[in-house]
């Protein structure tokens, strides 16, 4: 059976509901307890072209849409993601290969389901029929984008004013105490 058919058969693309439950925990393939696969080809450095970085930005930005968290909290801009991606691809251990795997996967899914469907699939593929290179892509791309999404400002959605990883601001400046007292 062709991998694409498998995916099509088992894909459960769900409509994006309003605020609330998006991921069915049973369907999620994000299983952090599993052993992490090695980063593919960490010695292969390179630079992604701006168009590819924009595609990765679209993938990263989908997080907010998917979880219904307004983008107004986020400082994870295209500019920041570009710096993030460049540092990850140009310096060893390099993410050049895994980002290209993510881009190919996105392309494959886009051909099948359109750009929006592809994004949704990336966040909810079926664990029994993972798409190509999914293991590395989920650990090194999706998981890391989720972390960056929260630390770069979206933690504020939950009512906090600071979070590990957020460059809150000088903590001796009374006008800018980065925590609640």
């Amino acid at each position: 059976m062709e991998p694409d058919n498998k995916q099509q058969k088992l894909l459960e693309l769900r409509k994006h509901p309003s605020y609330g439950m998006m991921l069915n925990p049973l369907l999620t393939v994000l299983q952090p307890t599993e052993d992490m696969p090695p980063l593919p080809n960490p010695g292969t450095t390179g630079s992604l072209v701006p168009g590819d970085i924009t595609t990765l930005y679209n993938i990263a930005s989908y997080t907010g849409f998917f979880w219904d968290i307004p983008n107004s909290f986020s400082a994870f801009t295209l500019e920041e993601l570009t710096e993030f991606v460049n540092l990850k691809t140009q310096i060893q251990p390099s993410y050049f290969t895994v980002y290209n795997q993510a881009l190919s996967l996105y392309q494959l899914l886009s051909n099948e389901f359109g750009p929006q469907g592809a994004l949704s699939f990336l966040y909810t593929p079926n664990p029994l029929y993972p798409p190509p290179n999914w293991d590395a892509v989920r650990w090194y791309v999706i998981q890391e984008f989720l972390s960056m999404f929260i630390t770069s400002g979206n933690f504020r959605f939950y009512g906090w004013v600071n979070y590990p990883g957020w460059m809150g601001g000088p903590y001796n400046d009374p006008s800018h105490l980065p925590y609640r007292t």
């Binding site: 540092l87 310096i91 957020w166």
Partner: protein, 532 residues
Amino acid sequence: MNKNSTATQEANVIIVGSGIAGSLVANMLLAAGASNVVMLEAGADIPMEDHRSWYDAISTAHNQLPYDSTYDLQGDFTSSGVEPWNIQGGRIIGRGGSTIHWGGWTPRFMPEDFCLKTNTGLGIDWPFAYADLEPYYCLAEQYLGVAGITQEGQRDWRSQAYPMAGPVLPLTAQPIISALQQSGYIFGNMPVARNTVTYNDKPQCITTGTCYYCPIGARFTGNQPLDKLASNPNFTLMLNSPVTSLVMGAKNTVTGVQYLDTTTGQTQIMSGVAVFLCSGAFEIPKLMQLSTSAFWPDGIGNDNDLVGRYLVANPYIYCSGGASTNPELLQQELNFPNLCSRQWDTPEEQATGKFLMNMSYEAPLVNPAALMYEGNSAAQIAATVTGPFLYELQGGISPTPSYNNRVTSASGTTRYALPRTAFNTPDEIVSQDTINRHINNMIQLYENIGFTVGKSGAYPQRGDHASSTCRMATTDSDGVVDDTLKVFGTDNLYVASNAALPTIGAANLTLTLVATIMRAMDKILNSRPSWV
């Protein structure tokens, strides 16, 4: 040159180890005019304030850090005895040493910590009192850049204000403050070597809450003094150069060291007029034990079989407690130490074990990214944020030294060409009764505020505060070095390390280490040695 061949190089002063102790010694020697100071470091460089490393630290699934790979591996040591030590994840072998990833907590010892023997009959007294060290404590706080808040009537009295004011306690501290107040207990800020203002050419903290890797260098780390020394023509730092033995020209004279260049596999001799051992409380006694010669058949300074003995570190205990709802969204928004209590860090507790309690800065903490990753919706996560939460109170206990507890070498070497380490700790350094007593103190605090009590116990001994293995004493029958840190029976070999601390209190020890080295260096330099 062939592998394993020996070449000789010349230094004036040799420093073994590039941690905070080594760089402080270098700093003081160079400031006094010493020339040709050579530092040998077993490990490699570690990128600091590096943007890629920072991104890895905050984005990767296991918060990958550039020094993770330097930690001891299970096979690097053996442990036997009561509560066998497990040092994995503790010390760092690399440029800057273990303060690359320390917490930066910098409380002073209490006055009674300098006279354990007089007060309790246990251990040994320091050769000097708190009052003698107090001026150096002030200098050490300036050197490290300590931010703190002076408490009314604090027993670790101070002649000068902290270099920087400490931060305001966050909302998360409020429940525990209220618990402490209900019992009438004292509390305050944990002094930390973290800039609340620009200080020592380093910027103000921007509260990233990732003190294990500060992206801007606002917390003191061991690389910083080395960065400043880098351009000094009288200073040379040689990385990947573990010292494997000390060379003695006479019983009282060290003439140099033998080291291995691990990048080429060549053994080298570095001759020197004075040698400072700054390679930590495990490696220093091992190096001295292994450096046998006709002058010192049992190892240098070891005629009385004291080198490597009295191994101690602070036992670290914890107790968690929490409530079923969190309407105020209590979350460690600072993620670095703040609230502490020295209620039990007193002479009354000294005989059995003093306790410096702090509130963990890692709990309560909800990680929405992890919950998203596990497939939870925003609504589910929001419910988690206001749902049940757990605090953790924790702290270090002052240990009781024992002659039988010892560090030596095991056969074989590590990937850094250092001898494997053997820990043998047949005697307990704190009793279960003492642990229970302090856990009960924490339980009482939770009960004061109606929290449900969770898990409690002692963390495995990682040796973060390992010390006293070449302890300072007034005579060689009691210790290995004198109060100038010079090895008894030698004229030019010094131990600048936690290894030399005669005993430790409940407080973190590095500020005291820095003050002790400053005091000793003052005395050494005042004696105008030929090598400065």
